[in-house]
């Protein structure tokens, strides 16, 4: 009996305090939005862009802090300007895409550090955006995460077929008359927004894990983009809940616990996934190739 009541207490205790409930809500919403956008990041190999936009947003956070305007607004403007700048510079200067990313995001991040270094009294508050402080998420933050997150998900649902086609085969999509450039900029914008709403909960350094890890885990399990989104969102939510329990009971940083939970889930899937895992698969995909040539199944 006491074992069961211990377990019940273990599971229910954290939710007695309001800030823990707010933390859970924030993490669940953020992990769903990040998994959906992260599916594009993973299948298009955009992890570096995700990381760059997160770091660049720190410059915006610092500027907004000094100007006394909304920190989310500052982060969003910085992330979107950086993503536009990356495309512009790489096109105009003929530089490789990842070079342009490397130059611009560190510049924006350094601007943030420069500003912070002049604001001695407020460093702690600003640095909560670097490492995340989910327990400090307030009612306003929750509302903003819910509103922007819902908008991102609705836009993805509305333009799913265009985003899918553009991501898969931009040349063919353009030949079919789809607005490819608008979709590519739009995709970057939506990724930037999901990063911005995650900053307070998980922080700049760890947000790329929320984008990449659940979607990468899902990609080991399912093989269609919309399924990767759904399964990735599920994995993100499970990681958030488990991570928060760990954080509460072991008294460790929540964002780190959530990310590490997701990492462990990825490694377990990597080892045991039925089709593509190292141990579970009967036919290691590296060793088997589809037979060459075509035999018509008539």
């Amino acid at each position: 009996m006491s074992a069961i009541s211990d377990l019940t207490a273990y599971l229910t205790d954290p939710w007695a305090s309001e800030f823990m409930v707010r933390s859970l809500l924030a993490l669940v919403m953020v992990s769903v939005v990040c998994a959906v956008m992260g599916s594009f990041v993973v299948v298009k190999g955009m992890a570096f862009i995700g990381d760059a936009l997160a770091h660049a947003s720190f410059g915006g956070v610092a500027v907004a802090f000094v100007l006394g305007v909304s920190i989310y607004l500052g982060a969003a403007v910085a992330a979107i300007l950086t993503s536009l700048g990356i495309v512009f510079v790489s096109r105009r200067a003929g530089l490789r895409f990842d070079t342009a990313i490397g130059v611009l995001f560190v510049g924006a991040f350094a601007l943030g550090i420069l500003i912070v270094s002049r604001q001695e009294g407020y460093i702690v508050d600003l640095f909560s955006f670097v490492f995340g402080n989910v327990l400090g998420v307030g009612q306003d933050d929750l509302l903003l995460i819910a509103a922007v997150g819902a908008a991102v998900l609705v836009l993805v649902a509305l333009f799913y077929k265009e985003l899918l086609f553009t991501a898969y085969d931009p040349a063919m999509a353009a030949a079919s008359g789809l607005p490819v450039a608008a979709m590519q900029y739009g995709l970057l914008g939506l990724i930037a927004l999901s990063i911005v709403i995650s900053l307070k909960a998980v922080g700049i350094v760890l947000v790329v894990a929320m984008l990449v890890t659940p979607a990468a885990t899902a990609q080991l399990l399912v093989r269609r983009l919309h399924l990767i989104m759904v399964v990735g969102a599920g994995i993100g939510v499970v990681s958030s809940v488990v991570g928060l329990y760990l954080s509460y009971h072991a008294d460790v940083a929540a964002s780190a616990a959530v990310v590490l939970t997701a990492t462990v889930l990825f490694l377990m899937t990597f080892l045991f996934a039925p089709r593509r895992g190292i141990i579970g698969s009967r036919q290691p995909s590296i060793l088997t190739k589809p037979e060459e040539g075509y035999s018509s199944p008539r």
Partner: protein, 266 residues
């Protein structure tokens, strides 16, 4: 019958109707000329080849016809209409190497993408779109594999998926970029059968390739391209040593053994 060097067909022939008309077309990249004054007419219901070595402008010509690359001068007409207004008539198959085969989509998803251009923004595929997709899959004998992830297909099957996507666009003209590369002889033969079926359904096909044997075996017409049209006509008429050497230059090796010519493309 021989229509060497002109690129223009005699319009008095029976039932002739031009599907693609390219006139004095100039195009290139960053000041580098890729196409110099191309004039070419492909008639309706014709399986036509566009042959030339790498960098001869084959893909550029297809991309200009598709409106993916802006040309400097000249004009493209499709069934008599300006190409800008008639792109719906076109179906396109890009080079296989340009396709991301690891992307998480099924065969069915890829073929459905052929419908997206017609659907327009915010609209979801309806019953008719599904019918067209299944019919296209049937035409290439791929209905059994509709739910497969595209990376799990063989080279010949991958080609068929891309052709099914082209068919699901319900085009009157199909533009195909290097469909034979990487296929073994049996798969190439199957593909030629499929092209004949598509042509029998009244479609026009323009196929960019450097595979001379496939063109010689089954195509109605061929244009030899190397920035300019070197020759245009029936393959057996224009595939002469002189014209092929002018087209492929150092890329081609012609060997004469006991009166037969063997061709090797490098």
């Amino acid at each position: 019958m021989a229509r060497v060097d002109t690129g223009q067909l005699d319009t008095k022939e029976e039932g002739f109707r031009p599907a693609i008309e390219v006139s004095d077309l100039w195009a290139g990249y960053d000041g580098q000329t890729a196409l110099e004054g191309i004039t070419l007419t492909i008639e309706e219901g014709c399986l036509a080849g566009l042959v030339g070595p790498n960098g001869s402008g084959k893909s550029t010509l297809l991309r200009v016809i598709l409106g993916l690359h802006r040309h400097w001068r000249g004009e493209v007409r499709l069934f008599g209409q300006k190409a800008d207004r008639a792109r719906r008539l076109l179906g396109y198959m890009p080079q296989v190497e340009l396709v991301d085969w690891d992307f998480p989509v099924s065969v069915f998803d890829v073929v459905m993408m052929g419908r997206y251009g017609r659907l327009g923004l915010l609209r979801r595929p309806g019953r008719r779109d599904h019918e067209v997709v299944w019919r296209s899959l049937e035409q290439v004998h791929m209905t059994d594999l509709a739910q497969r992830q595209i990376g799990e297909l063989s080279a010949g099957q991958q080609r068929r998926v891309l052709i099914a996507r082209t068919l699901s666009q319900e085009p009157r003209i199909l533009l195909l970029d290097e469909p034979f590369t990487g296929l073994d002889a049996a798969a190439q033969h199957d593909l030629l059968d499929l092209f004949n079926e598509v042509r029998a359904a009244g479609k026009t096909l323009l196929v960019a390739t450097h595979d001379l044997s496939c063109v010689a075996a089954a195509f109605d017409h061929a244009a030899c391209l190397n920035r300019k049209i070197i020759a245009f006509g029936e393959p057996r008429t224009i595939f002469t040593e002189e014209i092929l050497n002018a087209t492929f230059q150092t890329h081609l090796l012609l060997v004469n053994v006991e009166g037969k010519t063997y061709v090797s493309y490098q």
